[in-house]
């Protein structure tokens, strides 16, 4: 006569039960689903190449330049080293623009003193390019196009002639480009540029401060001092 089977014991609590393995796996999967854990990693910063420029001589008319396009230029790297003295209140920005060798947020002096970050800080860039970078006039017209200012060829000649000159800390001569008193024809522009250009046969270095008119006005003396603090070491002329 067959004896009745002994009462069942819960197999899941046996010491060697596969339940523990499965439970462990399930727990690991559930823990793996936790998504509030931060990720910490190191990455090499991506440096996109500068956009290719159309070949051929730049057109002399206002059309394409007024639209803010880049003049024909060599974006090839130039073997110079540019350093500067960073003004108080400016913070270094991470820039996706590979042509920039320096990118800063120029915080409004009032906010800088309060230790707060200016959400509408003036954008200051330092760019170095080989050769004449498409020419002085072309680049000034490009800047004008970016803020909606238009100027005829004769006025532009006069503007360049009248522009204030300065010397960098390393002795190169440069000129300031002050568009803060230039208004677009329809008077609707909300941004302006104050900058400096240092040009030699081998290279051109641009300093450009762009932002709201009142803020750029306030940054003018600081941008001036910054431009004068440039120290450019590179190929001998």
């Amino acid at each position: 006569m067959r004896s009745p089977p002994p009462p069942l014991k819960n197999p899941f609590f046996r010491p060697k039960s596969p339940f523990y393995g499965l439970a462990g796996l399930g727990l690991a999967l559930l823990l793996g689903c936790q998504d509030t854990q931060p990720r910490v990693y190191t990455e090499v910063a991506f440096k996109p190449l500068a956009a290719s420029m159309p070949n051929g001589p730049m057109s002399g008319g206002m059309g394409p330049m007024a639209a803010g396009g880049m003049p024909a230029m060599s974006a090839a790297p130039v073997d110079i080293k540019v350093t500067w003295k960073l003004p108080e209140g400016w913070t270094t920005k991470d820039s996706a623009n590979a042509m920039r060798i320096g990118s800063f947020a120029a915080t409004d002096p009032d906010l800088a003193n309060s230790g707060e970050i200016d959400p509408n800080a003036v954008d200051v860039s330092v760019v170095q390019l080989a050769g004449d970078a498409g020419g002085l006039k072309a680049n000034i017209m490009r800047w004008m196009g970016q803020v909606g200012v238009k100027m005829g060829p004769e006025d532009l000649e006069a503007f360049i002639k009248a522009a204030a000159r300065f010397k960098t800390a390393s002795g190169q001569e440069g000129m300031f480009v002050d568009l803060t008193d230039k208004l677009s024809g329809d008077m609707t522009q909300d941004k302006t540029i104050y900058g400096a250009i240092v040009q030699t046969k081998e290279y051109t270095v641009f300093v450009k401060a762009m932002g709201e008119m009142a803020k750029v006005q306030r940054q003018k003396p600081i941008v001036k001092a910054f431009s004068q603090s440039l120290r450019i070491e590179g190929p001998k002329s």
């Binding site: 910063a45 991506f46 420029m53």
Partner: protein, 382 residues
Amino acid sequence: MSGPLSWRQRVARHPATKAVLHPAITLACLLVLFVLIFFGTLFQADHGLFEAQKKFFGYGWVLIGGFFPLPAASQVIWILSIQLTVMMSLHLQWKISKIGLWIVHAGIMALLVGGFITQMMAVESQLTLAEGEIGHFTTSYNEHEVAFWEAKGDTNSVFAYDATALKPGSQLDLGPYRARIQVRSYYENCDAFTTRATNGPKYLNASGIGMLEQRKPEKEVTQNAPGLIFSLSEAGKPDREVLLYGQELSALPLTLDGKQVFAQLRLKHYPLAFSLRLTDFIKNVHPGTDVPSSFESYADLLENGGSRPVKVWMNNPLRTHGYTFFQASYAQAQGQADKSTFAVVTNPGRVLPYVSSLTVFAGLLIHFLIRLIPFVRRETSV
């Protein structure tokens, strides 16, 4: 008279076990999977692949036809996995004559395990490079992160939270900086307005954005533009209100714990174990037509100061360091360098389907031979 039952036998005879292993459940699961695949395919046409995957093949419930609820595919596959595991544990006999069946079931289990590993651990991302550019990391197609980083020379030390952690009200520590963020709002998709357009509170933002307005998520999730508003708390400083928008090109500079830190809401980055420089992209067309016949990317794989040339073209991915690079897309424009886009996949479970198929085949073959040999002997003796 038989001896006492083993624990395997006792559990196998338990009504609960019999219920779990009931063939009707297996058949129902297979039927549900069939229905999910059918309706999921239809749903994908109108709502996009990602939404279809999430709704029909993730977790939760799906209302078929708007009223009939069915569990999503992942849950169904869990049920099938549990059935298979229990069945293997309790019913497959430990006999040499059954070795083929064990191998077959192990193969099926490998397929299911591979599926779960893929679901949990596989990462799909992309890398777009212009000719001459070097890529050091890939980016997700649609998953975002809020990243805080310090620039140290050419490298960034990144501390990031996935967007899934950005739930309104949640507080997240910024470990390295002795600071904390409290999420005010997170929008999967939104429009951004400049400060000029609003009179609301001022936020710290790198692009002058002052307001976000929620939008319905796009059909293709890659077109969503997320937005995040959070309060940044740091000991001894007043809280700062920060707004980040997923479409911003510029990162927001912040001072945290005395360090200059950048913040950005961006597609998730996945650092590569090496770098890849695209040297050339070639699109070939069929003679006399503009119809492309092939796309080829030539690149240098940069590692440990050296480089080696690699080629990726259609149906011929580059497999290296656990990554698979597929030729996915390209862009050509007059006057600009060609761009090539790679789909980059890391999947620790990618070999398991192959292992599974071979294992099941081997198991069936062994089982067939085990049954065939006695049959042949019997026939021969007759």
